[in-house]
């Protein structure tokens, strides 16, 4: 049976891992390659690397890092952050990334998703959506959460999948960094509306939160950063807990 996936996320700046709390106040949590190897051994199902430097002159640093990661780890990984062209995607895939995630550039130019899916296949195109609930509506936010749009996250997810996105990475800005749990409601709504896997992100604090987002939020995968980086949740223990609660995981 297909399992639910546990995905640690590593935010990368200038080749180092960082984690923002509510997208600000960045702390240093170590060397990405070393962390990645540790996560593999701990039983992570997949890894996500988000480059928050994302300026053109840093691109080369990122592809070099991706090569190092690809050489050392034996599970799939996604790279995202500032990707805006098929050249960016080709460079990352050729360096050994399995998937890329697109966010702001895809929103500003939706045909990018169509082109990338056609060129590289839907299976490697992840649409990352940052969303925030304001007055009862979940809006799409851009530029790392700095720019609000008038588009609903659900509508954008549906359009993105129609255009060829093979997976949705949904981050709730209301929940991110709070450790109060994932955004169950919007995750469930989007997961039921699209026929591709949805990765829930933002808000993981305790193991029960993962159970909730799989059972109630219908998430196919759950992503977290700081709880894993700082050792507050141990992946092996988390998977044991989920298995005990009849959620299929790879152990």
């Amino acid at each position: 049976m297909l399992t639910k996936r546990i995905i640690p996320c590593l935010d990368i700046k200038d080749g180092r891992t960082v984690k923002g709390i509510n997208f600000e106040n960045i702390k240093d949590a170590g060397d990405p390659v070393e962390l990645a190897i540790n996560y593999c051994q701990a039983g992570a199902d997949e890894l996500v690397f988000l480059d928050i430097t994302a300026t053109n002159d840093k691109r080369k640093t990122l592809t070099e890092l991706v090569k190092k990661i690809a050489l050392h780890i034996n599970i799939p990984f996604t790279v995202g952050g500032g990707i805006s062209s098929s050249e960016d995607v080709r460079a990352l895939l050729n360096s050994g990334a399995d998937k890329v995630s697109v966010n702001t550039a895809a929103y500003n130019n939706p045909t990018l998703i169509t082109e990338l899916a056609k060129q590289f296949g839907s299976q490697c195109i992840v649409l990352a959506i940052d969303t925030k609930k304001v007055d009862g509506n979940w809006y799409v936010y851009l530029n790392g959460g700095k720019v609000k749009t008038t588009t609903m996250a659900l509508d954008w997810a549906i359009e993105g999948v129609q255009r060829g996105a093979g997976e949705i990475l949904l981050t709730s800005m209301n929940n991110d960094g709070t450790k109060d749990g994932f955004a169950i409601e919007i995750t469930g709504e989007i997961s039921k509306a699209v026929n591709v896997p949805v990765i829930a992100s933002g808000g993981a604090g305790i193991t029960e939160h993962f159970k909730e987002v799989f059972e109630l939020g219908c998430a196919d995968a759950a992503l977290a950063a700081s709880v894993f980086h700082y050792g507050e949740i141990e992946i092996k223990a988390l998977k044991k807990y989920l298995k005990k609660n009849n959620i299929h995981v790879r152990i």
């Binding site: 049976m1 297909l2 399992t3 639910k4 996936r5 593999c40 199902d45 690809a70 050489l71 034996n74 599970i75 799939p76 895939l93 050729n94 360096s95 050994g96 399995d98 590289f120 296949g121 839907s122 299976q123 490697c124 093979g166 997976e167 026929n195 591709v196 896997p197 196919d220 995968a221 790879r250």
Partner: protein
Amino acid sequence: MKVAIIDYNAGNIKSVEFALNRIGIQPLLTNNSDELLSADKIIFPGVGEASTAMNFLKHLKLDEQIKELKQPVLGICLGMQLMCSYSEEGSTECLGIFPQKVKRFNSAEFKVPQIGWNQILNLNNPLFSGLTPESYVYYVHGFYAELGSSTIAETNYILNYSAALNKGNFYGVQFHPEKSGSIGEIILQNFIERI
């Protein structure tokens, strides 16, 4: 031991190369006829769309050559599907090494493509030596090969389908051994050492 990876614009070549590096093999990436013929083992990778990939093979005149290979050949994911007779993806006539047809997962209930870790069942080949039944491997695919006489492992998603195929010197796996953790490395090692 000379291991060649067929280089034809498939998406996962680098990952396969790195995975072989991890088990101590330095593979040669090539689409050169002589280099392929002189290799001891050949890996036929693949990520992408079937009809586009078949056109690449034809363009490089690899389609006829792959069928004629006498040494062990391991197709991975799309590589395996292209070794089947026909694929519903782009209505593509494939290489016809395995008799199976490749069909589209059809379900209102399950998500397509299948992305993630699933179990391999009914293992029946030295390719899987040393593995416990129901080991987890990593899949990313929207199309599957039917069960048939060449099936040497099965996986269940919506229905039971061929996780791996074997006919003569030709082997194929639908999952990605290069991304399947230590289980995948055992399978690659078995292909290199036991096949």
